[in-house]
């Protein structure tokens, strides 16, 4: 098996990459099943008592007519997401939008959950140790983070939100993880950890027994907490995540077995050789934090498979490992080689798709999976009623290299508008974009053939040919129809970028 050859083949220039292997998403007619009724919506009868007090504070926000990719597996076309005081209260096609609500029309655009960067640095300014007191919500890096779709992130051991212009409610969760060392290169640390875990696990067993019996037997004494590591106790109780840094196969197996023995789910940063032991990691219920573009040769001294693989994410996912994706550089890097820093989070996920990871899993890898690692999945990571209204309105597929975040919404407030900020406003301006999203078709995606012309005609005053693309869609291919080309001339910015939605063309 020439793994080496395979890798050679895969290392083709980035410029030729077509990142998106568009998987079939749910058929439109399935939408009805996913309409969600607001759990937290005010009930008609209750109003009078509390209404007067609350009315002043109520802030409504609605994103209307967007194609909503909820991140839970469904695509809801032409839906409105309604939020009250920053929390989603309704997702439906017909919504009574309250008076005074801020409305963002996302017609022809896609709505995704805000991305979650499992780790980053610098996006909130300040220091992670005292983020609440030092956050700089006007930091240009925060703006770049939002421009790339990141609305929540882990900083150190704090989970935080990118709330532009606000310092309250920034910290979502403190101390979500404990970093542990368990490496074959460091036997004493291994021994140490096992000893501590033994003590802690024993205490926890005794404590639970005590909890169960104390009601009936009042003579029982609470077990002594002496020697118990509080951080490990939190891990074993499932309150925080145990985090490891490991790439090598031996370490990964060791961590998987340790986790199974003590009954916790490990988060493994790196996990480069994970694909060789994916079954072990899957059984351990591990989370893997991957950088699909990282490359590492296998040790030539070993016969076994090893080294990095572009299929890593796909193989781990297939074995039940929860995959989160993070670019190689955790901060915003405006020098060196572009495209490997935190503001290319969706691009990095695109590489995992290239290696076979399903599209939905790739989106989960930058939304709900990192949210679970950060322990904030009850608030962010998907578009669901009752969750925070952190949304991205995009002009195309989230993982496509050409797609831009058009609007970012955090806690029901619009905090980014591509046209209003200087960074990307000049690239394919929204008003003159040749890439009318309706005519851009992803491979395998079902499109209502009647929908496209209706929207296109009035919008661009475009030619009748433009209505045709959906019909000429080539099954399985990445290409969009040639009819789009006539549209190019009016656009003069950047010859290369102007080639519209042609994928791999």
């Amino acid at each position: 098996m020439s793994n080496f050859m395979l890798r050679k083949l895969l290392q083709i220039p980035a410029s030729a990459l077509a990142l998106c292997s568009f998987t079939a998403l749910l058929a439109p007619n399935a939408n009805a099943a996913f309409l969600q009724e607001p759990a937290a919506a005010p009930k008609e009868g209750e109003k009078p008592a509390e209404e007067k007090k609350k009315e002043e504070k109520e802030e409504w926000f609605a994103v209307t007519n967007g194609d909503v990719f909820t991140g839970t597996g469904s695509l809801l076309r032409g839906m409105t997401v309604l939020a009250k005081n920053g929390v989603i209260v309704k997702i439906a096609s017909e919504v009574d939008i309250p008076e005074g609500a801020k409305v963002l029309d996302a017609k022809g655009m896609r709505v995704y959950p805000g991305l979650v960067a499992v780790a980053s640095s610098g996006l909130l300014g300040g220091s992670s140790a005292e983020l609440e007191d030092t956050v700089d919500p006007f930091n240009s890096r925060m703006l770049l983070g939002l421009a790339s779709g990141i609305t929540s992130t882990g900083i150190g051991s704090v989970a935080a939100k990118l709330k532009r212009g606000e310092i309250k409610g920034v910290v979502l969760r403190d101390k979500f993880s404990t970093t542990l060392t368990y490496s074959t290169n460091n036997p004493s640390s291994k021994r140490n950890l096992v000893e501590k875990l033994d003590v802690t696990a024993k205490y926890l067993r005794e404590f639970r027994e005590y909890e169960a019996k104390k009601a009936s037997n009042k003579d029982l004494k609470e077990p002594a907490k002496k020697g118990v590591d509080s951080a490990l106790l939190a891990v074993l109780k499932g309150e925080t995540m145990a985090r490891f840094n490991a790439d090598g196969r031996e370490d990964l197996i060791a961590i998987a077995r340790l986790a199974q023995k003590y009954g916790f789910r490990p988060v493994i940063d790196g996990c480069e050789e994970g694909w060789t032991v994916a079954d072990e990691l899957g059984r351990a219920g591990a989370f893997a934090v991957l950088t699909p573009r990282n490359r590492d040769d296998k040790s030539e001294a070993l016969v076994r498979p090893g080294g990095s693989s572009i299929e890593n994410a796909a193989i781990l996912h297939a074995h039940g490992v929860q995959v989160a994706i993070i670019p190689a550089t955790r901060g915003v890097d405006l020098g060196g080689i572009a495209g490997r820093d935190i503001i290319h989070l969706p691009i990095e996920a695109g590489f995992a798709v290239r290696g076979g990871l399903p599209q939905a899993a790739a989106i989960a890898a930058i939304t709900i999976v990192p949210a679970r690692i950060l322990g904030v999945d009850h608030r962010v990571g998907t578009i669901e009623v009752g969750k925070d209204c952190d949304l991205l309105v995009m002009d195309g597929d989230l993982l496509h290299y050409q797609t831009f975040v058009q609007y970012a919404i955090v806690d029901g407030k619009q905090v980014y508008d591509k046209e209003a900020e200087l960074w990307f406003a000049h690239i394919r301006p929204r008003t003159t974009a040749s890439m009318a999203p309706e005519t851009r078709v992803d491979a395998g995606e079902e499109v209502d053939p009647n929908a496209a012309p209706k929207v296109d005609a009035p919008k661009d005053g475009a030619k009748p040919e433009e209505a045709k693309p959906p019909e000429e869609k080539k099954p399985g291919g990445g290409e969009t129809p040639p009819e789009k080309k006539p549209e190019e001339p009016p656009k003069e910015t950047g010859g290369d970028e102007g080639s519209g939605g042609e994928v791999g063309g």
């Binding site: 007191d133 006007f138 309250k168 200087l422």
Partner: protein, 427 residues
């Protein structure tokens, strides 16, 4: 004209025999920038004992009064720099010392102060150095040889250095929490005092009404014990701790707070630390090239903060788009106080010209003039005494050979409290 004449005569009967008074002098200038009430062409400014006695257009001057004819010049109030450490050493701590006054640092000899007069600066606010809360600033006049002679007013403002970090926030929270603690304690003490005081009046009655009321019986006994030592005195609040008092004065509006912040986020954190408290304070914001303070200019404007800033045109971060923040802040409702671009003599020398650059970029002229004179004076609590060309104010004046903000204009003479301290004036 006649009525004006009459007023002059009526208001100052001494004028009739003015010839005898050597320090009564009438200054005729081509134009006077009063700052407080616009421009007066062909102004006559009557000065006596270092104060402006009156000012008006073409006032008739009684015979015998000495006249200084400066018809080709323009007069404006002396410049006021409220935020300087010129002439002080650069020792700086990092401590919470609101009780310290910059007056203790004052070291009056030094040519720097004479140079300042030459550049038109007639009032200086010297602040204590250091981070955290270094102490209170002092208002001085440059020139005299002793600290006492330099002193115009103490307690100009309390300087607070605030940045987005836990330490700064805790410092501010704690400082005001101590004020609350003190006020709470005083409130209770006063209540107790009042109770005791008011208890005396019914004191005779409870004895009669004993069968009707149960509790007063005990109270009555207590009051009887104390009735001798507490006569009809008014309640005297306890003196607060000297580290608490400046903040108490701020809460009561007796002392200004000048809070130094460095970026927009600092303001939000400051607001967070202050909480619901209704305080008025002013902000010192150093104008760095790409400062992002405009992000909160609306909120700052709503709080009516004065902005103490350098006359600089800054850039929108990441761009070459220029911003006139002074103009933006003033439009948002804040009042502007200009400082020289640096705390050096050279910067004072080019001060007017630098402000001229900001005026050329769109800042209204009258706001710029005020930002150099009356506004800093009000910031330091001496606005009633100096900062504009008004009756009864100190005769601090700068005489220029043209418009203050025109590039070629020179300072021809400077008057400090009625004395010409710089320039040749034919008398």
């Amino acid at each position: 004209m006649k009525t004006l004449n009459a007023i002059v005569l009526a208001a100052f009967p001494a004028l009739c025999s003015a010839a005898a008074l050597p320090d009564l002098v009438a200054i005729k200038v081509g134009r006077a920038e009063t700052v407080s009430h616009g421009v007066i062409e062909h102004a006559v400014i009557l000065v006596e004992d270092g104060k402006i006695v009156t000012i008006g257009q073409d006032l008739p001057i009684e015979r015998g009064i000495r006249v200084i004819d400066l018809e080709s010049w323009i007069a404006m109030p002396g410049l006021v720099n409220p935020y300087s450490r010129i002439g002080l050493d650069s020792r700086a701590g990092d401590e919470f010392n609101p009780q310290i006054s910059a007056f203790d640092d004052l070291y009056p000899t030094g040519e720097d102060y004479d140079k300042l007069l030459e550049y038109g600066v007639t009032t200086l606010g010297l602040y204590p150095a250091g981070r955290a809360v270094p102490g209170r600033a002092v208002v001085v006049r440059p020139g005299p040889d002793t600290a006492e002679a330099m002193l115009v007013a103490r307690d100009a403002y309390l300087k607070v250095y605030f940045r987005s970090d836990s330490r700064s926030k805790k410092m501010v929270k704690d400082a005001f929490a101590k004020v609350d603690e003190y006020l709470e304690k005083e409130k209770k003490a006063k209540e107790k005092f009042d109770k005791e005081a008011s208890g005396k009046k019914p004191e005779a009655k409870p004895e009669e009404k004993k069968p009707d009321e149960k509790a007063p019986a005990q109270d009555g006994e207590k009051k009887e014990e104390k009735k001798d030592d507490k006569a009809k005195k008014a309640y005297v609040p306890a003196e607060p701790d000297d580290k608490v008092k400046p903040f108490l004065d701020i809460v009561n509006g007796k002392l200004n707070a000048l809070i130094s912040i460095g970026q927009a986020a600092d303001f939000l954190h400051l607001m967070d630390a202050i909480g619901e408290r209704k305080l008025s304070f002013d902000l010192r914001i150093p104008m760095t090239r790409e400062i992002d303070i405009y992000e909160v200019e609306k909120q700052i404007g709503e709080r009516k903060c004065r902005i103490v800033m350098e006359p600089e045109i800054t850039l929108t971060p990441g761009t070459m788009r220029m911003r006139n923040l002074a103009q933006e802040f003033s439009a948002a409702g804040s009042k502007i106080v200009f400082l020289p671009r640096g705390d050096t003599l050279t910067a004072h020398k080019t001060w007017l010209r630098n402000v001229g650059e900001v005026v050329a970029q769109g800042l209204p002229r009258e706001i710029a003039l005020r930002a150099l004179t009356l506004e800093p004076a009000e910031l330091m609590g001496v606005g009633a005494r100096l900062g504009s060309l008004d009756k009864n104010k100190d005769a601090n004046m700068v005489f220029l050979n043209g418009d203050p903000f025109e590039p070629g204009t020179k300072i021809m003479a400077v008057m400090l409290e009625g004395r010409i301290v710089f320039g040749e004036v034919a008398q």
